[in-house]
């Protein structure tokens, strides 16, 4: 058994909260800057320039890229040969509290969904864990802003809806969202599983490098086709019109029941943030 202390987990989560909010991953930054280079429509190009300038400003000032520093989604892959000394989930929450406080990040979590009331330290985190072979612990922090989260949808489609049904649902979701989720967006799609599995797949799809493709050529082609169709909607950066509505479409799938075809679409904005560490 390999020992990992709760304190190490807390320190790692705190660091990942700060780093993910202050700098985009290289793939996302490249995607935003390339979109500025290729976009031809004037107002869209100007808007993308502003987004590039904002990335520069964040780097120069140390400020977060976006004020919505999100609810901290923490994905953990725990090697089955690892023993954690201390309370694992408490260690993660403590890391979020420390990262958001010491990093001057916004505290955006309320303690009750209806009665509200800010918790003051951005806890609790949303924690997803998987037990995997090995003796490592992989932690990914993905702060999720709610401008885009609110535009996400889940549909319990019928098997007869088929491939076209899935594509239509994704396109309809993006069209309905329009300017609200801060386009250019990244679209995570989860197909299959159950009600909750589809939603989790959609969120996990957003952890992949933007522009990466599903290993199955069938879904890789669908990702490409959906990206092209989304970028023909005309919504453009910030919804002002233009080509660049999405920077990537990423699909994750899972086997499902004979009676169903759940589809979840999780929208992310141009500040698609995630940062990982392996302990």
């Amino acid at each position: 058994m390999r020992e990992i202390s709760a304190q190490t987990i807390t320190e790692t989560v705190a660091r990942l909260c700060m780093e993910s909010n202050n700098r985009l991953s290289a793939d996302m930054e490249n995607a935003v800057r390339s979109a500025f280079e290729t976009e031809q429509w004037p107002i869209a190009k100007t808007t993308l320039k502003t987004l590039c300038d904002n990335l520069d400003a964040a780097r120069d000032t140390g400020l977060p890229i976006c004020q919505d520093t999100g609810m901290a989604c923490v994905f953990c892959e725990i090697g089955q040969e690892v023993h954690i000394q201390g309370d694992f989930e408490a260690a993660i929450h403590a890391g979020v509290a420390r990262g958001y406080t010491e990093g001057f990040l916004r505290k955006s979590v309320v303690k009750d969904p209806i009665r509200r009331g800010n918790t003051g330290d951005n806890t609790p985190a949303i924690i997803h864990t998987r037990i995997v072979p090995g003796d490592k612990l992989k932690i990914t922090v993905a702060p999720k802003g709610f401008g885009s989260e609110n535009m996400s949808r889940l549909g319990m489609l019928k098997p007869s809806d088929g491939e076209q049904g899935v594509k239509d649902f994704v396109l309809e979701t993006v069209r309905l969202a329009g300017p609200n989720p801060c386009p250019p967006i990244v679209v995570g799609v989860g197909v299959g599983g159950t009600f909750e599995k589809a939603a989790l797949l959609a969120k996990q799809a957003l952890l992949r490098p933007v522009g990466s493709h599903h290993p199955d050529p069938y879904y890789a082609a669908m990702e490409q086709e959906l990206l092209e169709k989304i970028n023909q909607l005309g919504i453009g950066p910030q919804g002002f019109g233009g080509e660049t509505t999405a920077l990537g479409v990423q699909i994750e799938t899972y086997p499902t029941h004979i009676a169903g075809m759940p589809v979840a679409v999780n929208i992310n904005c141009h500040a698609t943030r995630h940062k990982e560490a392996v302990l």
């Binding site: 107002i43 000032t61 976006c66 004020q67 919505d68």
Partner: protein, 186 residues
């Protein structure tokens, strides 16, 4: 058209603005988002005076990150505006002239804007670090317990904004994509 405007904004000024115009806004604006709007309307329900004077004012739908020592404010881009739609018409009828945010608005808000001559301006969503440089001072006004959602008085200098919906109801979120799509077909 590009306008350099300073608050307070009179109806005469806001009625001239058209969807698609750009505005560099200077002067005093107030931040308020979901929870603060709810409190403002509860205040009106009780017949009390509002903690801010909304006549000819501009409200910025924003909840900034905390300021680091020596900085006026943290990252402070706009939040999505439709969540304030339930409250905005009341404030517009009290004289509010500009709402700054991002994303779609309801028909009720647009109707109230037409009646009162107000405008809806978009700041670039997700450009929070850049916007911070346009904020010279930030002071807490009220609702400190709401944290980031408290109402703050900001002094801004040449805050870059785009007119999305004007007082005639023209909407850049409709016309912008339409113009792009028709240009592609030609």
């Amino acid at each position: 058209m590009e306008y350099k405007l300073t608050t307070p904004l009179t109806e005469e000024v806001t009625r001239k603005l058209r969807a698609g115009d750009t505005v560099l806004l200077s002067g005093v604006i107030y931040t308020a988002r979901d929870a603060a709007h709810k409190r403002l309307c509860e205040c009106l329900d009780r017949g009390e005076e509002l903690p801010i004077d909304v006549k000819d004012a501009a409200i910025y739908y924003a909840g900034p990150t905390p300021a680091r020592p020596g900085q006026a404010i943290g990252a402070c881009g706009p939040t999505t505006s439709y969540r304030m739609d339930a409250y905005a018409p009341r404030l517009l009828h009290l004289g509010l002239k500009a709402m700054i945010g991002k994303g779609k608005r309801s028909e009720q808000v647009v109707e109230a804007m037409k009646e009162t001559g107000a405008v809806y301006l978009a700041a670039i969503g997700g450009a929070g670090a850049l916007m911070a440089s346009r904020v010279k001072t930030a002071q807490l006004v009220c609702y400190e317990d709401l944290g980031s959602e408290a109402i703050r008085r900001l002094e801004v200098e040449e805050m870059p904004l785009t007119v999305v919906i004007d007082s005639l109801g023209n909407n850049l979120y409709q016309t912008g994509p339409q113009e792009y799509l028709s240009a592609q077909q030609q």
